[in-house]
């Protein structure tokens, strides 16, 4: 009880306040605890969440509340200069699952089975997708219309048979098609699985082509169905812009055809390049890297590469495959550098003329080799006997290295470098394609030997596009242009949003120098003939080049050194329009000189391209002899009238049969016949059965071919560079074949026995 008393005493001490006071005190503490500490903490926490973390939390909330469906934008098309479609996107669909809406495993299995069958997928893979807990699982992309119809039917079936709805949906998608397959593959490029440009124009102009994806944003409840109140926001997809290239698909395909032929004929190991440029604007008319690849199937290597990779050990195959793919996609015309060799003499000559260091009377002496101080081995001219004394023009036509070493010396290293930069070799051309490489020139002082070899295009490397841009500058009046492949961009409604104008970077040489160079280069081709790109009826200027691939070990070729055979030419020489650079990297056939490998390809291409471009022909008297004419239409005329008409057209006439009227003719209407060729007119059926046997027409000069053919009553059409000295190399209808009289036999004149002025 003592304890009790003590406490009682204690409490009595407080009696001044009373027990009521104690309760009040403690209640006050309680109120403070609840209202200040408790409510205070609650308010603080709420303020933090709403004001500080609010935006982040709201973002996350909105993320889950809004079902954001992306509507693909249609990627713009790519057209050639004339509006031919090179790349376009077509509607396809993607199959999407909302697996969270499945209710039973039975539904899942049925759905997986059906989709796997229709879409040709593995059942297990689809089943796995149906078991996910989400609203968006892509089953297959880019399915075409027929599959789409099947899927739509299947959706109905799932609804009917399994009461399963809201699970499968089809979303619009687009697929890229390249109607021309491998045409201009290195220029056009291709797109990836998400429609993003990966190479070429597709990559470079991705921003223009891609368009802007649209979105359909709908508020969804946690079950993925729409909330009962309307919350939908549509942002329409904005289709991509269309791109018009400067490339002419016809020219491009002509170039590709003959480049491929050149690759095969000369067993070229490391691909070839052909660039055709409008010399006055810098527009690229054709840009070929052979072999290209099929843009619709860019991940398939050539059979040769596949076989090569198969021989490698397993662990290295993947690496080799990806290396082979990037090599295949590589646009050699702009991404690889090479030593321009003698083609560069165009530039060296221009420099000397511009600096007035040479004129028609300047002479150079060539003993066959030049020994430079400090260098053990003399530099040889390709003509080991030496060219002797020659004028400036002769030095160019002879492509004489010792003469150019002297010209280089006259220029000096500083001037040489200055012009080198002026021609744009030291900078990227700025062409609107990805992956342009830079040149590789002496970074510091050029030694005497450096200048000597540089003057004829050795020991530094540039890109093909730089070479042709410089060539264009030499012949167009001295303007260094910025090359481009896209001429205009239009929106999806066809309104032009960008027109590409030509861009002159600078004038590097004067108009006079340019005119003089045109004269010299036209003279070069005219005198050197087929080896320098001569085509009857056209004034062609050009220069061949055979450069050594110093320091390049692979690929192996049969020659002691690897070479690049190139040719750079243009037409017409008196009013240059189109320039073309052709080069083959590492030819390993019988010949490797530019004049033997590249010039024929150039001639083949230009012989078709120039008529297509409607470049006017101007034949000299001697050329006219070998020029083809078109057979007229004589059918239906009386035999006398027909004979008269054909003679007026410049043909000789043979009438066969006893009828009054011409019922058929050989050669047929509009087919090519040489001037003065023989037209056979048939007036009855029986006479048409007569035949002649085709003789051998190979190994003759053009006039000899003419003589033989006319003796047999056959016509010939000359193909290739036909000069009086040319020797025929092929005939399209082989010896011994029976044909009707008057049939046209195409005879090819390729390289000739002229000297190789490289």
């Amino acid at each position: 009880m003592g304890k009790d008393n003590k406490v009682t005493n204690n409490s009595k001490k407080h009696t001044a306040k009373g027990p009521n006071q104690k309760l009040r005190q403690r209640t006050a503490i309680l109120i403070m605890l609840i209202l200040i500490a408790g409510f205070g903490a609650a308010v603080l926490r709420l303020s933090f969440l709403t004001l500080v973390q609010g935006s982040e939390l709201q973002e996350r909330a909105v993320d889950q509340q809004l079902a954001d469906t992306t509507v693909s934008a249609k990627r713009g098309s790519i057209y050639d200069k004339n509006g031919k479609i090179l790349a376009e996107s077509a509607s396809v669909w993607q199959v999407v699952l909302a697996p969270i809406n499945f209710k039973t495993d039975e539904q899942r299995q049925a759905c997986a089975k059906g989709l796997a069958e229709i879409l040709d997928l593995e059942y297990e893979d689809v089943l796995e997708k149906t078991q996910q807990q989400n609203y968006y699982s892509v089953v297959k992309r880019k399915i075409e219309a027929d599959k789409r119809d099947e899927i739509l039917k299947f959706i109905d079936k799932m609804a009917d048979d399994y009461k399963c709805t809201g699970v499968i949906s089809l979303l619009d998608d687009y697929k890229r098609y390249y109607p021309q397959n491998d045409l201009a593959s290195c220029v056009i490029g291709f797109t990836g699985s998400d429609d993003q440009g990966l190479e070429g124009v597709e990559y470079k102009y991705d921003d223009y082509l891609a368009g802007t994806s649209g979105r359909i944003i709908t508020a969804r409840n946690a079950r993925g169905t729409d909330m009962p109140f309307q919350y939908e926001q549509n942002v329409d997809a904005e289709d991509g812009n269309n791109i018009y290239l400067t490339i002419d698909a016809t020219v491009q395909s002509i170039c590709e055809k003959y480049m491929k032929q050149g690759i095969i004929e000369n067993n070229v190991l490391n691909r070839g390049v052909c660039i055709a440029m409008d010399v006055n604007t810098g527009a690229i008319i054709a840009m070929v890297t052979v072999d290209g690849y099929n843009l619709n199937d860019p991940y398939t290597l050539s059979q040769k590469d596949i076989d090569e990779i198969r021989t490698l050990p397993k662990d290295k195959q993947a690496e080799a495959e990806s290396a082979a793919l990037s090599a295949m996609w590589r646009n050699k015309a702009i991404s690889d550098t090479y030593m321009p060799g003698s083609v560069f003499k165009i530039c060296t000559s221009s420099m000397a003329l511009e600096e007035n260091l040479v004129d028609d009377n300047t002479t150079f002496f060539c003993s066959g080799s030049v020994t430079l101080p400090g260098v053990t081995n003399p530099i040889n001219c390709h003509d080991h006997a030496g060219h002797g004394t020659q004028t400036f023009v002769q030095a160019i036509c002879n492509s004489c290295n010792p003469a150019f070493i002297q010209i280089g010396k006259m220029l000096g290293a500083d001037k040489f470098r200055q012009y080198y930069q002026g021609f744009g070799f030291s900078e990227k051309t700025g062409i609107d394609l990805p992956g342009e490489a830079e040149d590789n020139f002496w970074p510091g002082e050029m030694k005497e030997v450096d200048l000597a070899v540089a003057s004829f295009g050795q020991n530094f490397s540039i890109t093909p596009i730089q070479m042709i841009t410089a060539c264009a500058a030499v012949v167009n009046g001295g303007n260094v242009l910025q090359p481009y492949v896209v001429s205009k961009i239009t929106d999806s409604d066809g309104n032009v949003i960008k027109n590409v104008e030509k861009k002159v970077k600078r004038q590097v040489i004067s108009k006079e120098t340019s005119d003089k160079m045109n004269e010299i280069l036209a003279y070069n081709t005219a005198t050197a003939g087929a080896t320098a790109g001569y085509i009857p009826g056209y004034k062609i200027g050009g220069k061949t080049g055979t450069s050594e691939k110093i320091g390049v070990v692979k690929p192996e070729s049969i020659f002691p050194e690897d070479y690049i055979a190139s040719f750079c030419g243009y037409a017409p020489a008196d009013n240059p329009q189109i320039a073309m650079l052709v080069f083959f990297d590492t030819p390993s056939g019988d010949v490797y000189y530019g004049s033997q490998v590249a010039a024929p390809a150039f001639i083949n291409i230009m012989s078709e391209v120039l008529p297509y471009l409607e470049v006017k022909t101007e034949y000299t008297e001697s050329e006219l002899e070998y020029v083809d004419a078109s057979a007229g239409d004589y059918i239906g005329l009386s035999s006398a009238d027909a004979e008269k008409a054909a003679k007026n057209d410049g043909f000789t006439v043979t009438v066969k049969g006893k009828g009054d009227k011409v019922i058929s003719q050989i050669p047929t209407v509009s087919s090519k016949v040489q001037n003065g060729g023989n037209i056979v007119l048939y007036t009855d059926d029986t006479s048409a059965s007569e035949t002649v046997t085709v003789p051998n027409l190979i190994g003759y000069t053009p006039s000899e071919v003419n003589n033989v053919a006319s003796a047999y009553g056959l016509n010939v059409s000359f193909s290739g560079a036909t000069t009086a000295q040319g020797i025929s190399t092929a005939q399209d209808i082989s010896e011994g074949t029976s044909v009707s009289p008057g049939t046209v036999i195409t005879v090819s004149f390729n390289s000739s026995s002229s000297t190789l002025n490289d």
């Binding site: 406490v7 027990p19 309680l30 609840i34 409510f39 709420l46 709403t50 909330a61 508020a219």
Partner: protein, 420 residues
């Protein structure tokens, strides 16, 4: 007080037995009893207090909260209601029914002479125990817990009764033994016994948040009832020790599973172990964050579209913040604070210790639940199921709540009568 002046005064005969009352009576005799002689003549008080002597501000605050709460409950529930029952008004209609019943109970209790509870407090505690035992014998409900006794139109939640009976019992106890509360055997011992047995029964339901609230209420009642502060301190240390022990032995498996992910709601990523466990809390935080300062507007919540599970229950305030913003939430909290303030101050005006303690206990309980509820929905406390008074959907809790508010009103009425 003018309108009440003519009201009949009734002496509260109970006060005569209340020692403390007599003490205070003597101390302030002149101040409060203008005509004590007349009061003495009053006949023994009956079961009901009559007249309009209730505390009007307190009553208005209750009605304001009830109105706002019902509107928000409807807003929060209609999407969930639509998707789960097909009827957007399902919860609203039922809640309105409960409100009707609750208001009847409140009015009834406001006239009921709360002093009658003084005598029956142990009996109420007994009934509470019976209910707590009974619920354990019934089959388990949702989620394998046994928390409700189905009573037709609504489910009776024995823990609600337990909360009330504990407040009632300790108000009774500490006013009865007011001068012995310093002794541990009159304060700590009954506290431990009553809390311990109740907690044990709740543990079997299990209903941990009920245990927490009952623990807090027990301590609160004993503290204001006069328990020595040092026992409180010892109690806190002991509690911490017990929690630690249980945590170590793993006895709180269910609670731990509910606490799993406590504070991790925003760190969890889809598909991990905690994603589902923290779903409700995470979506609560999303809702609160989405509200910002001004809210998305009444009815504009998006999180209530099945993202926040059962938005009409414990997590209703998250939807309130989403729709009304921090500003709206603060206004509601201010009204709650006014309720607590007014309820406690009016209870202090009661002339007997029992009335004071009962009023303070019942009002504090609301404040404590509000605070705990907000700390739960904001992920500062584990998600344990503490409803928000006047807002959360629920029959038994709402009816109990309004009945309890009726008792506080009854206390205010009596205090007011005596003030005349």
């Amino acid at each position: 007080m003018a309108p009440y002046k003519k009201m009949m005064l009734k002496a509260d005969i109970n006060r005569i037995y209340d020692d403390e009352y007599i003490d205070s009576q003597k101390a302030k005799k002149e101040k409060f009893f203008v005509r004590p002689s007349r009061q003495r003549k009053m006949k023994k008080p009956g079961w009901f207090s009559v007249g309009m002597g209730i505390d009007l501000p307190f009553c208005i605050i209750i009605l304001v909260l009830l109105t706002i709460g019902t509107i928000m409950m409807f807003s929060a529930s209609y999407a969930f209601s639509y998707y789960t029952t097909g009827d957007s008004y399902h919860y609203l209609f039922r809640q309105l029914l409960f409100i009707g019943l609750g208001l009847i109970a409140m009015i009834f209790m406001s006239f009921f002479n709360y002093n009658k509870f003084h005598k029956i407090a142990p009996l109420v505690l007994g009934v509470s125990y019976i209910c707590l035992v009974l619920v354990l014998m019934l089959p388990a409900g949702d989620g394998g817990v046994k928390r409700w006794i189905p009573l037709g139109i609504f489910n009776l939640q024995p823990s609600e009764i337990a909360k009330f009976s504990i407040i009632l019992f300790f108000a009774h106890w500490s006013s009865k033994y007011y001068n012995k509360m310093q002794f541990a055997r009159y304060s700590v011992l009954p506290g431990l016994v009553v809390f311990g047995t109740t907690a044990l029964l709740l543990y079997f339901e299990p209903h941990y948040s009920g245990i927490v609230i009952i623990g807090i209420l027990t301590v609160l009642m004993l503290y204001i009832g006069g328990m020595k502060a040092k026992y409180l301190l010892i109690g806190f240390v002991g509690l911490a020790g017990i929690v630690l022990l249980l945590a170590v032995t793993g006895g709180l498996s269910y609670a731990m599973s509910r606490m799993d992910g406590w504070g991790q709601a925003l760190q969890s990523v889809r598909g991990d172990d905690l994603w589902d466990a923290t779903w409700q809390t995470r979506n609560s935080l999303y809702a609160i964050g989405s509200g910002g300062l001004w809210g998305l507007g009444l009815g504009q919540s998006r999180q209530k579209y099945l993202y926040l599970p059962e938005p009409q229950n414990d997590f209703i305030f998250a939807i309130v913040v989403e729709e009304l913003g921090l500003i709206g939430a603060m206004l509601i909290l201010i009204i709650f604070a006014l309720l607590v303030w007014r309820g406690i101050t009016l209870s202090l005006r009661a002339k007997d210790k029992f009335g004071k303690m009962l009023g303070i206990g019942l009002t504090s309980q609301i404040g404590i639940q509000v605070v705990l509820n907000i700390l739960v929905i904001t992920d500062w406390l584990p998600n344990t199921g503490i409803s928000l008074p006047f807002f959360s959907y629920g029959g038994s809790s709402l009816i109990m709540l309004l009945a309890q508010m009726g008792i506080v009103l009854s206390i205010s009425r009596t205090a007011n009568i005596e003030r005349q």
